[in-house]
């Protein structure tokens, strides 16, 4: 029989019992839909991890205070990671040529009768260099091929200097939107604003910024904020000494592990941490590099995809058995039809082709429905997962191919059973 006629015959076969056919494919539909949706979750998580940790340069080590929850508040473990810890690092640790200290917190910013609640950043004078190396934000409309300098981030006035950071001077730089909100079009440079109850002179306003990646432009607000010298922030904006985050710049990217060991030795000395009886150190800080983050992400992605594979296999096997079941019923119901076809000249391979094609059409139909359902499910999955779900384009052909293979595998046995019928017996079948 020609391929076209085989196809028409098979289509006729499955369309003759539409409800049963639809119910049969349900297993495949759900299996394929869950494959699409869960791969989208994995894909979304991967994209989110990439976006969140892209800021850490590959030559940077981020050092954070170890924290614990005590009386409902996060508190430092052991000794506090201080501004001074970072200040001495570059001169003592050979592989570190620069260390940046940052603190952040929330504050009320006031000028005249206007107040704004915002998150302030205490940084050193090189903060804009770090912003450039992070590559997350740029001045609005910046051409992608044009290099950035710290000056490009300043709209009016200037950023603070190393000397001002060392002295803890009361100066600050406002975000573009924050300046608009507070000064309503007046020139802020040289004016005095109040941060909580401390006065501070505005020396600059940032340029209008936007997220570099288009998909991040909705959920980031780079134009709201306040930059001030980290020393000033520590002395004036906290009741107790805050812990700082230190970003150590390593001179040689290939020696990150060695740099980590050197930093650990330096900090343990400053924090009086000695080796315990078990040979371990009870550190009160932890260090993160881009490689650490990527490694952890790859591991979790591998675990996740293993789970997904298991889920897909189970649901597709269930769907495949459903198809096998309905095809066996169909072969038995149509025994007489098979006998007639054999009597008028159908060979074994014609019968196999007809029933195998019916099974594959069933599973392919289920696969297409499942893909549609899976794609429609992604927004729901995203809403249950903090908005993190993104259709993986590879998952569509993959899921469809898997549904085809399921139909082939589970349709083979019923088709072979049909082809092995004895035409004499089949014609007598009631």
């Amino acid at each position: 029989m020609s391929p076209l006629n085989t196809l028409l015959t098979a289509l006729r076969g499955i369309s003759s019992n539409a409800l049963r056919t639809a119910l049969t494919t349900l297993g495949i539909v759900i299996g394929v839909a869950s494959v699409i949706a869960t791969l989208a979750l994995g894909n979304g998580a991967r994209a989110a991890v990439n976006a969140n940790f892209r800021f850490l340069g590959s030559d940077q080590i981020q050092i954070d205070q170890d924290l614990q929850l005590k009386n409902g508040q996060m508190q430092a473990v052991g000794k506090t990671l201080t501004y001074e810890d970072g200040l001495g690092m570059a001169s003592v640790v050979p592989l570190v040529d620069r260390a940046e200290m940052t603190v952040s917190g929330s504050a009320k910013l006031r000028y005249s009768r206007q107040t704004v609640d915002l998150t302030f950043q205490g940084t050193d004078a090189g903060a804009l260099l770090t912003v450039i190396s992070q590559g997350q934000v740029q001045p609005v409309g910046w051409p992608s091929n044009k290099a950035l300098t710290p000056k490009d981030f300043i709209g009016q006035g200037r950023f603070f200097t190393d000397a001002e950071v060392l002295d803890g001077d009361a100066v600050c730089v406002l975000g573009y939107q924050t300046a608009l909100d507070l000064f309503e079009g007046d020139n802020p440079i040289g004016q005095t604003v109040w941060v909580n109850r401390k006065s501070c002179q505005v020396i600059g306003v940032a340029a209008e910024l936007e997220a570099v990646s288009v998909e991040n432009r909705i959920n980031t607000r780079p134009n709201e904020g306040l930059f001030m010298p980290v020393s000033f922030a520590i002395q004036n904006l906290f009741d107790t000494e805050p812990w700082v985050t230190i970003i150590a710049h390593v001179t040689d990217e290939s020696k990150m592990e060695q740099a980590k060991a050197e930093i650990a030795t330096y900090l343990r000395q400053r924090h009086d941490i000695t080796q315990g009886p078990d040979g371990n150190y009870a550190d009160d800080f932890h260090m993160t590099t881009k490689q650490d983050v990527l490694g952890a992400q790859q591991q979790s992605a591998a675990t996740f995809s293993l789970l997904l594979t298991a889920l897909a296999v189970v649901s597709l096997v269930v769907g495949g058995i459903g198809i096998m079941n309905v095809m066996l019923v169909s072969v038995s119901e149509r025994t007489r039809e098979i006998g007639v076809r054999m009597a008028v000249g159908a060979r074994s391979r014609d019968v196999v082709a007809q029933f195998l094609l019916e099974a594959v059409l069933l599973s392919a139909g289920g696969g297409l429905l499942g893909i549609a359902m899976g794609v429609l499910t992604i927004p729901i999955a995203a809403s249950l997962n903090q908005g993190i779900a993104l259709l993986d384009p590879n998952s569509v052909p993959l899921a469809f191919g898997v549904s085809l293979i399921t139909g082939l595998v589970f349709g083979l046995y019923p088709a072979l059973r049909a082809a092995q019928l004895d035409p004499i017996e089949a014609l007598r079948y009631e």
């Binding site: 020609s2 007639v340 009597a343 008028v344 000249g345 391979r349 035409p423």
Partner: protein, 229 residues
């Protein structure tokens, strides 16, 4: 030319520990254009004979030559090909596919052969020959018993076979309709078609040019029942 030649055609079945001799060495010759009726009581071997002559089964011993070609040792697929273009079947219970209309039922054997050209045209001509052109688009359940049997005959004719095998073709029809079907078969025979018909009914058998009586797996009239005899 001889359409059918059988030599010592034998078929035995093994049922449990015992063997049943359904055919005990049948010798039969049928010439082109003959209309042969095969009669006999139940269990006489008529059906077994029919299955062997229709290439639905293979003999345990002996030879069967269809159009002077030995078809008793063919493989399953080779037999399917012989059934497809050399043999047409007319069944007592019609055996039309219920979801296909008359024309599609008649086209069916052509689909399984190597047929180029306009298969629907050939099927239409076959339906015209049995007088059912106006019913081509009707499904079997919309047709009367006589019309269904005509569709079956058209399906048997459409590949222009060497041999038409009819198994109780009037068994499910009233006597008037049955007579019409017999008239059609006699006409086809006159057009050089060779027909071998199994029947219980002596009146039906009377339309045939030759009547063979079977008993206990042997033909008891006509030519000698075995080579040894």
């Amino acid at each position: 030319m001889k359409i059918i030649q059988t030599e010592n055609l034998t078929r035995t079945y093994v049922v449990g520990n015992s063997t049943v001799n359904a055919l005990r060495g049948v010798n039969l010759d049928v010439e082109v254009g003959e209309f042969v009726a095969l009669m006999g009581p139940s269990g006489s071997g008529k059906s077994t004979m029919m299955h062997l002559l229709g290439c639905l089964d293979t003999p345990s011993a002996g030879r069967y030559l269809l159009e002077e070609r030995d078809v008793s040792t063919l493989t399953k697929d080779q037999r399917a090909a012989v059934r497809n273009n050399r043999i047409g079947f007319v069944f007592q219970t019609f055996n039309l596919l219920p979801r296909l209309n008359a024309l599609e039922n008649v086209v069916l054997p052509l689909l399984y052969g190597r047929n180029g050209g306009d298969m629907n045209q050939r099927a239409s001509e076959a339906l015209e020959r049995v007088g059912l052109t106006s019913r081509a688009q009707h499904r079997p359940n919309e047709l009367s018993g006589g019309e269904r049997q005509r569709v079956t005959i058209a399906r048997a004719l459409v590949t222009n076979p060497a041999l038409i095998l009819a198994d109780e073709p009037t068994g499910n029809l009233d006597s008037k309709t049955g007579a019409e079907i017999m008239r059609l078969l006699v006409e086809l025979c006159a057009e050089e078609h060779t027909i071998l018909m199994v029947t219980h009914d002596a009146k039906v058998a009377a339309h045939a040019g030759r009547i063979l009586q079977m008993q206990d797996g042997e033909i008891v009239n006509g030519r000698p029942a075995s080579v040894a005899a």
